[in-house]
Every structure is written in C-alpha cells, then in structure tokens.
C-alpha cells in the first residue's frame, strides 16, 4: 500500500497544480474584491495540494511504524475484472456503431464466457431475455429510446 499511497499523494498534488494551470486565465477576484470564476477552483486546488502533502506525511509515518495494509491490483481475479471493464468499454463502442440490440447480443455472451459460464443455452437465453426485457420496459413502458445504430440514424 505504501507505494500506492505515495502515488495518491503525488496525484493529489498534481491535480491541484493542474487546476491552477487551467484556471490561470480566469479571474480570482473582481475589482470590488468579490471572488470570481477562479476563486472556488483554486481553493479546491489548495486543498488538493494540502491533502496530498498530508497523505505523503502519513504514508511516511505509517511505513516507518509498519502499519500498512496491502492492496491487490495485479492478482488473477483483478485482471479478470480489468478484462470485464475492457469488454464493457468495447460494448459502449459497439453500441455507438451497431445500436443497443446487436451490441448487447455480443456483449452478454462474451462477459458470461469470461465469468466461466459454459452452457450455450443459458448464455443464449440470458442474452435474448435481457435484450427483450430492456426493450419492452424502456421503449414500450417508459417510452424512452435505446441507443440506435449510426448506420440507421
């Protein structure tokens, strides 16, 4: 955890600096001394920097006393979750081009296979049922639209 706590501290400070950089053209105070557009973001930026500093100090103290918990970002289970996230991202891309139904009929079987489901009937029924139920409730009951394919727009 120690390494990651330092990364968190560094990112917090970096975030504060980034806010300062991007708000450099905004007005912190107007001529009446009343806060302008940059005041609140820059106050948050100072907080980021202060908390980043505190996090770094706390990590130093905790590592010297050996009171650090471990963090799991690389185990096989976590890697499977990363693949799941990638699939979900690919699902969003697929949905942009091919619309809800096609993308979902591809995404659900892939994710179920990733999660260890091997029964083709179960996979097919789940995928079709989800598409049908979502379409019925969203389009028919709630009267909203589902993502269309860009080829049919």
């Amino acid at each position: 955890m120690r390494k990651y706590n330092f990364v968190v501290a560094a990112l917090s400070i970096l975030m504060g600096c980034a806010i300062f950089w991007f708000s450099r053209n905004l007005t912190p105070f107007d001529e009446m001394g009343i806060p302008g557009e940059a005041f609140w973001p820059q106050a948050i930026a100072w907080l980021f920097i202060f908390l980043g500093g505190l996090q770094a100090i706390q990590s130093l103290i905790a590592s010297s006393s050996g009171g650090e918990a471990s963090v799991d970002l690389h185990s096989p289970g976590v890697r499977v979750a990363y693949i799941g996230a990638l699939l979900a991202f690919a699902y969003a891309v697929l949905m942009t081009y091919f619309g809800f139904s096609v993308a979902t009929l591809v995404f659900i079987p892939l994710l179920m296979l990733l999660m260890g489901e091997r029964k083709p009937l179960m996979i097919a029924v789940t995928a079709l049922a989800v598409v049908a139920v979502v379409w019925f409730f969203f389009v028919q009951v709630f009267n909203t639209t589902l993502p269309p394919s860009i080829f049919f727009e």
Partner: protein
C-alpha cells in the same frame, strides 16, 4: 389540507402506485442479492426516474431505498450473509434461528419490524420536518454556505478507510462540479472548447459508474474466486410460518418502539447510517431484554431490533435532507441528485414553495413502507430463490443497465463512456482505500457551497467576516469544524485518556483479595 389531498391524489394514482411497487420490489431484490448495495440500487434506477413526469420517479427511488434496507435481512437470516451493511447485526440472531428450523419465524419478525421501523420514522419525519423547516426559513446565502460546508464536513464520517483519502475524494467531487458554466457569471470553466463539457460533467453517469459499474467489477473479481474455490450459494432451509404470532409480537413490541426511536434519531444525524443504527439497536435490545442470554443463539428480539433500527433510518435521514438540503449518506446524496433533476431544490424553502411535493414525499414514503411489508410477507419464498441467481447472469444485466441508464439521461453515448471511465476509476479507487460517498457529496454540494459563498461575499462587499458575525452561520460552521475534526482528534483523545488511566492504575496500590471479593 388542499395540498395533502392533491399529494394523496398523486401518490394513489395508478401510475405512481405501480412505480412505488416496482421500486420497492426492485429494492428488496437488490438488498437480497449479496454484493448489491442500497447505493448501487438507487444509482442504477435513478436514470429511469427522468422518464417519468413529476414526483413519480422520486417516489420510485424512495421505494428502492426502503426495500433495499429490508431486503438485506433475507440473506442475513438464510445464508448468514448480510445483503447490506445495515443487516450485519441481523445475522447474529437471524441465522441461529434459521439453523433451529425457525427461518420463517425470523423472516416474519424481520419483515414486521422493518415495516414498523419505516412507518415510525415516516411519522417522525412528518411531525419534525415542517417544524425544523419553519426555523430554517430565515436563512440566506451565508447560512446556506455554512450548511453546505456542514454537509461537506460529514465526508469524514462516511470515509470508511482513510480520512485523508475521504477528503481527497470530496475534493474530486467538488472539482468535477466546477466544470462547465460558472454559476454566477456563466463564463466557461475547464470546458476545453467541448460542447459536452459546457453543460458540466453530467453527474448521473458518474454516480452510476461509481456505485454500480465499480461494484459489478468487484462481482467479476469475486466470481473468479468463487469459481476457483467451487463456492456456490444455496438455501437449504425450509420456510414454514411467516406471519408473527401474537405472543411473539407482544414480546418484541417494546423492542420495535425503542429501536425505531434509535434508528430515527441516528438517521437524522448526517454521516451515520443503517449499520450504526442496527448495531446500537441490537445492543440496547440486549441491555433491556428480560432474556439477554438468548442473544446470539436465536433471540426474536435480536432479529427485530436491528431491522427496526435500520429501517427507521430512512425517515430520519430525510429530515436533514428535506429541511436543510444536507444528505446524511451516499444513498440520500444520490436521491438529492434525483430531486435536483426534477427541479426541486431541497432545503427550508421546499416546504413553502413546494408544499404538494413535500406532502407527496411524506405519503409516498408511508406507502412505500406499507408496500414493503406486504411484498415482504407475500413474496418471501420467491426472494429466497432470487438471491441465489448466479453472478454470471447478474453482472451482465447490471452492466447493461448501467449503460442504458447512463444513455437515457441525455440520450448521448458520451455519458456511457463517462460512466465506464468513472466506474473503472471508482474500482481502482476503492482498491486504494477511497470511499465513493465523499465524491458524490462533493459533486452535489459543491455548486451550493460555491454559489452561496460568492453571493454572501457580494452581500458583504468581499468581507469574509460576514460568516462570523451571523449567529446561525457561525453555529453551523462550528458544527462543521467539530464534525470535520472529531474523527481525527477523538481517537487520539481516547488513546490519551486510556494511557493516562493505565499509568494511574500502575501507580496505584494493588487492591487486596478481600477488597476484590467485596
């Protein structure tokens, strides 16, 4: 009176009753499924509320809120796995009862106590909230700023792992809320010439990502572990009688009352929640019980107390939310977002400007709790089957709903990508010890804090002493400072006191055996 009748007309309309029932049912199912939380349920269904006109969508979310707290008790009793953190205390006596073949009795008592707790806290809300709102109607910009700061200060209480990371999370939320048009001058801020960012980062996809998408990734990870070790969830207990007997009810009634009072009060304190309420209720029930020896071995009071306490939190948490606009926890923060989208600005003015909506919430919460009880008694056998739905089926459904829910807010795929990115970052952040609730609180309360800070300083011509010269404002700022620093100073003070007591004990002469026996 006209407002009450109008509100009753809204709640008892065919569409609204249907939606509250759907919401409550969805809440019970979400609560009954281990790994799905109250926050996740509300976040997942929140985008749906925008498709309904008026208050119907908000009432559906109230149904989800009530149902999910109760639903957690089903798994707690049957498989010793709390569906939500608030049901953890229910395991202590619920599961031993199930092992003794009394699962139906335990489920019946938990359902009855959940309904009692929910209804009790709704009555408390109806009595207390308007009075508190009357006191708060005289507030202006400096007081609203102080209220927002107080709301933000509860971040320290909802940060489960690290206080500093909780505060950094709050800053992330505050930072996200600054993107878009400036609330006072309408100038562009951090938009990078993007048309999407001009409207600000839509907070609904962010919430769905943080609470639902990230949890789905955790479920994928846990599923991998379960596959590896061959773990499967199954219910082998038989459920016979569900309705509590009169003898049981007579015995647990004082526990219902005591726990409901405890739950309502704890719920009304920002930064607390159902888990605290259920444990405090359990401890008090044991302390006051005529049969404390039964606790931990299947006590009917032990099952009733945490459930009544946890469900009473719902009404209690609505008190600061509706009267002051302060969300007490992640769930109420998400609901506050739903209110905002419906054009309802929570706070004291809600009671004077939107009396019909206020009464609709009161009656709707009451109906949601009654429906929770009815659905609980009627569908308990079905819920026990739902809770063993494999993750392999559940996770794809959740991820599809995350995507569709995010899309349906603004009908743009950009929101789906925002949701996915927020969810993945949320997953990593939870791994690193961050809590998601501070981020939501920051997003929701950030604009309120900034706008009122700048309005107050416009009122005082830039003089910051305006916050110290107004008594209510100063009081809230002091409470905020105490809330912020108590979790830091409190444990250190306790440790200092313990160390002092220990050193005093070492210095004192050892008592004789006579004095010990005396």
């Amino acid at each position: 009176m006209t407002e009450v009748l109008e509100a009753a007309g809204i709640v008892f309309s065919y569409q609204t009753l249907f939606l509250i029932t759907v919401g409550t049912l969805a809440g019970i199912i979400i609560g009954a499924l281990p790994g799905l939380t109250v926050n996740m349920g509300i976040a997942l269904l929140m985008p749906l509320t925008f498709t309904f006109e008026g208050m119907a969508g908000v009432l559906m979310l109230l149904g989800v809120y009530c149902g999910a707290i109760y639903g957690g008790s089903i798994t707690a009793i049957l498989i010793n796995t709390p569906g939500t953190p608030a049901s953890a205390a229910t395991c202590l006596d619920g599961y031993p009862m199930a092992l003794k073949g009394q699962a139906g009795r335990a489920l019946g008592l938990s359902t009855a106590s959940s309904m009692f707790g929910g209804l009790f806290s709704t009555v408390a809300l109806i009595i207390v909230a308007p009075q508190l709102a009357k006191v708060a109607t005289g507030l202006s910009a400096p007081e609203y700023f102080a209220l927002a700061v107080f709301g933000i200060s509860i971040i320290t209480s909802v940060s489960s792992h690290s206080l500093i990371k909780g505060l950094i999370g709050g800053c992330i939320g505050l930072g996200i809320a600054t993107v878009g048009l400036d609330p006072m001058t309408a100038g562009m801020r951090f938009t990078f010439d993007s048309l999407y960012l001009m409207g600000g980062i839509s907070f609904v996809p962010v919430l769905v990502g943080l609470f639902a998408f990230s949890q789905a990734l955790f479920s994928i990870e846990e599923n991998w572990g379960e596959n590896l070790h061959g773990v499967s969830r199954s219910v082998s207990v038989k459920i016979t009688r569900l309705l509590p007997t009169w003898i049981d009810l007579r015995r647990v009634l004082p526990t219902y009352l005591r726990s409901s009072v405890i739950g309502t009060i704890i719920g009304a304190i920002p930064g607390t929640g159902g888990d605290i309420a259920s444990y405090v209720s359990y401890t008090e029930a044991k302390r006051w019980s005529k049969h404390p020896e039964e606790f931990g071995h299947g006590s009917i009071e032990g099952v009733s107390a945490p459930e009544a306490g946890a469900n009473a939190v719902a009404g209690g948490a609505m008190v600061p939310l509706m009267t002051l606009g302060i969300p007490g926890d992640g769930a109420t923060a998400i609901m506050m977002g739903a209110f905002m989208v419906q054009g309802l600005s929570l706070g004291p003015l809600l009671f004077t400007e939107h009396p019909v909506e206020v009464n609709t919430i009161f009656i709707g919460l009451f109906v949601a709790n009654v429906l929770m009880g009815i659905l609980g008694f009627a569908g308990i056998r079905a819920f026990t089957r739902i809770m063993v739905v494999p993750r392999k089926v559940l996770v794809p459904i959740i991820l599809v709903l995350c995507a569709i829910g995010s899309y349906s807010v603004n009908h743009t795929m950009t929101d789906v990508f925002v949701m996915s990115i927020a969810g993945f970052l949320g997953y990593i952040m939870i791994k690193l010890g961050f809590s998601m609730s501070p981020i939501v609180i920051g997003i929701i309360l950030g604009p309120m804090a900034e706008t009122n800070l700048r309005r107050a300083l416009t009122m005082s011509d830039g003089d910051f002493s305006i916050f110290l010269t107004r008594p209510i404002c100063l009081t809230f700022l002091i409470i905020a400072a105490v809330t912020l620093f108590l979790p830091i100073v409190g444990p250190k003070f306790s440790a200092w006191r313990r160390a002092k007591a220990a050193s005093a004990g070492q210095g004192a002469p050892e008592p004789s055996s006579d004095s010990r026996s005396a």
